[in-house]
């Protein structure tokens, strides 16, 4: 009690944030998980009936003539009966049917594969490119400020916009094919980037990289600038060749920044949504996120919930392994 007395202000200050997070993040996630265990067929029907009943009740209260009212009463009775019957239907109660459906659905399995592939490919590509650019922009180079500004341009560009732009580039009659054609790398037959499979994965990865490169470059530049000059000088005096120096001095010192970059990017990559939705479409290149959405759009809420839950699961597993590793390293260092 004394604690509350002394720290009332602090408590008051923390509560809103965490109340919000619990209310608007944790709770939804939990409901989502709950819904995912309700059979889709039951879910939809139940939905309709409940709203219908509510609607009829509303009409009864607003009905003018008594005869109209009677009609509603009758309808109400029928619907309630239907609901009653539904409660005892084979589909009622907790069921794994959604998950069974998902894992027998080839396009969902493909979605899992695509999601992982895009994450892995994207991360490694972005890591290498961003690192190389950061290295260049931190060494004494004429007009690097200019390049820095250019590289950072896409930083704030809405993903939806970058997606829009990328459609111009990756259309079958788009600018990339045109460039390849002009370079003579391509005959009359254009490449269909959205055909699914690796091509589409590469397309999404490219689009994603274009969008997030600035963030990673900034992060790495900060990391490189955090390395004291003396370290570089020391290794120069030791006469270590540049590449050797990079792998033995720079990279280890960059480790914290790299891990941060990777973890943040990985999470976003798992959740990547607009780009594949617009660039590739759900038909040829489903991702878990877009799959979840398309099921939602088809009003298969429970199925959507299940797929969303799976995505959540994958991310959480990833995050916790990451945290575990960080913890262990702490203990090692300490």
């Amino acid at each position: 009690m004394r604690f509350v007395k002394t720290y009332w202000l602090e408590i008051l200050m923390v509560i809103p944030l965490f109340a919000y997070i619990i209310g608007f993040t944790l709770l939804p996630i939990l409901t989502n998980i709950k819904e995912s265990f309700v059979d889709q067929r039951f879910g939809r029907r139940y939905d309709i009936l409940v709203s219908k009943i509510a609607d009829i009740k509303y009409d009864i209260t607003h009905a003018q003539e008594s005869e109209e009212q009677r009609a509603y009463e009758k309808e109400l009775a029928e619907t309630t009966l239907a609901l009653e019957r539904l409660q005892h239907s084979p589909y009622a109660g907790v069921s794994l049917s959604n998950y069974r459906k998902l894992f027998t659905d080839r396009s969902f399995v493909k979605a899992i594969f695509n999601t992982l592939a895009i994450t892995l490919l994207g991360l490694s590509l972005q890591l290498v490119i961003a690192m190389s650019i950061a290295l260049l922009l931190t060494r004494p180079l004429q007009g690097k400020g200019f390049f820095r500004t250019i590289v950072l341009t896409p930083l704030g560009i809405p993903t939806i916009v970058s997606a829009t732009i990328m459609t111009y580039i990756f259309d079958t009659s788009g600018y990339l094919n045109e460039i390849l054609y002009r370079l003579g790398l391509l005959g009359e037959v254009p490449i269909d980037w959205a055909q699914g499979g690796w091509l589409s994965i590469c397309m999404v990865v490219f689009a994603d990289t274009w969008k997030v490169l600035p963030l990673m470059v900034l992060l790495f530049i900060a990391g490189l600038e955090a390395i004291p000059q003396s370290v570089h000088e020391a290794s120069q005096i030791d006469g270590s060749p540049p590449l050797y120096k990079f792998f033995t001095v720079t990279l280890p010192l960059m480790k914290p920044y790299i891990t941060i970059a990777l973890i943040l990017r990985a999470i976003d990559a798992f959740r990547i949504f607009e780009l594949p939705l617009i660039l590739a479409g759900t038909a040829t290149t489903p991702l878990i996120s877009t799959f979840t959405y398309s099921e939602y759009a088809r009003q298969n809420y429970n199925l959507s919930a299940a797929s969303g839950t799976i995505l959540t699961g994958i991310i959480l597993i990833f995050v916790f392994t990451y945290l575990y590793i960080v913890e262990r390293e702490r203990e090692i260092n300490a």
Partner: protein
């Protein structure tokens, strides 16, 4: 000197290539938004500008369509509100967390971190159902609440970093000087954290301005700019969507150029350690 230049030539080449790859798509967007259909609607397109030259007709269409202003207004309102509320909610908590002892602090930061990792698509569905009952679907307020879900943990992190940078002795001095906790917050902590808060605010504004997923789930008829672009993409053909995209992008690019030098790695990293 020329020898040195020769040595750094490959670097310049690399940077040049990267720059082109980064800038060309943006150029395309602007180009298409101001090109004659004849130049775009043909098998082999011009990589630079087509012979028919520049036209502003698409821009004219967009501005006269009557769909731009409402969505522009909604986007502005939502982004601004989200910015203010996010700071108002996250800043105090961030301050307290920044002053906590290590075990609790770590715990809080982790929980913020995890709450940020949940996929929107998983959150948006239940939220849309709840908002339906709360009568918040298709309202700016509802969207604001949704965007807060996305930005709060993020801004929380940034601000924790900001507050950690303020030495504890300042607060103690102030309290010895006879200031109450609240006065200390107002007169000492707040002014000192203002720059950090400002940057965080701008980042939040951007996040909300660009947000798509929640908007898609929670909007019925009153679109935000990104949604409007999306629907144009689905419908009006590529010219208008190009014009729209350009319109959304301009303020953003300006803002990011302002932000560039203020963004610290801590903010990007969101303070994960």
């Amino acid at each position: 000197m020329p020898k040195k230049l020769l040595k750094s030539l490959p670097f310049y080449l690399y940077l040049a290539v990267v720059s082109v790859i980064i800038l060309y798509p943006i150029f395309l967007m602007v180009k298409i938004s101001a090109s004659h259909p004849a130049d775009i609607m043909k098998p082999h397109k011009n990589l630079l500008w087509g012979p028919a030259g520049i036209t502003l007709e698409h821009w004219y269409n967009v501005f006269t369509s009557g769909l731009l202003l409402p969505s522009l207004f909604k986007s502005l309102l939502v982004a601004t509100m989200v910015m203010l509320l996010a700071i108002l909610i996250a800043a105090p908590a961030a301050y307290v967390i920044a002053r906590l002892g290590s075990p609790f602090k770590y715990l809080f930061i982790i929980s913020l971190f995890i709450s940020r990792t949940f996929p929107e698509v998983a959150i948006a569905l239940p939220v849309s159902v709840v908002f339906l009952h709360w009568n918040l679907l298709d309202t700016s307020f509802g969207l604001i609440l949704a965007h807060l879900i996305k930005v709060l943990p993020y801004v929380g992190w940034i601000l924790i970093g900001t507050f950690e940078a303020i030495p504890l002795s300042l607060e103690q001095a102030s309290s010895v000087d006879g200031a109450s906790k609240i006065r200390t917050l107002r007169k000492v902590i707040f002014p000192l954290s203002l720059p950090g808060i400002a940057v965080a605010a701008m980042l939040v504004w951007l996040e909300s301005w660009n947000e798509f997923t929640y908007a898609l789930y929670l909007t019925v008829s009153e679109n935000t700019l990104p949604l409007q672009t999306y629907y144009y993409l689905n419908r009006g053909g590529i010219f208008n969507s190009a014009a729209y995209a350009t319109i959304i992008t301009l303020p953003v690019i300006v803002l990011t150029f302002i932000l560039q030098r203020y963004i610290t790695s801590g903010m990007l990293a969101g303070g994960v350690k």
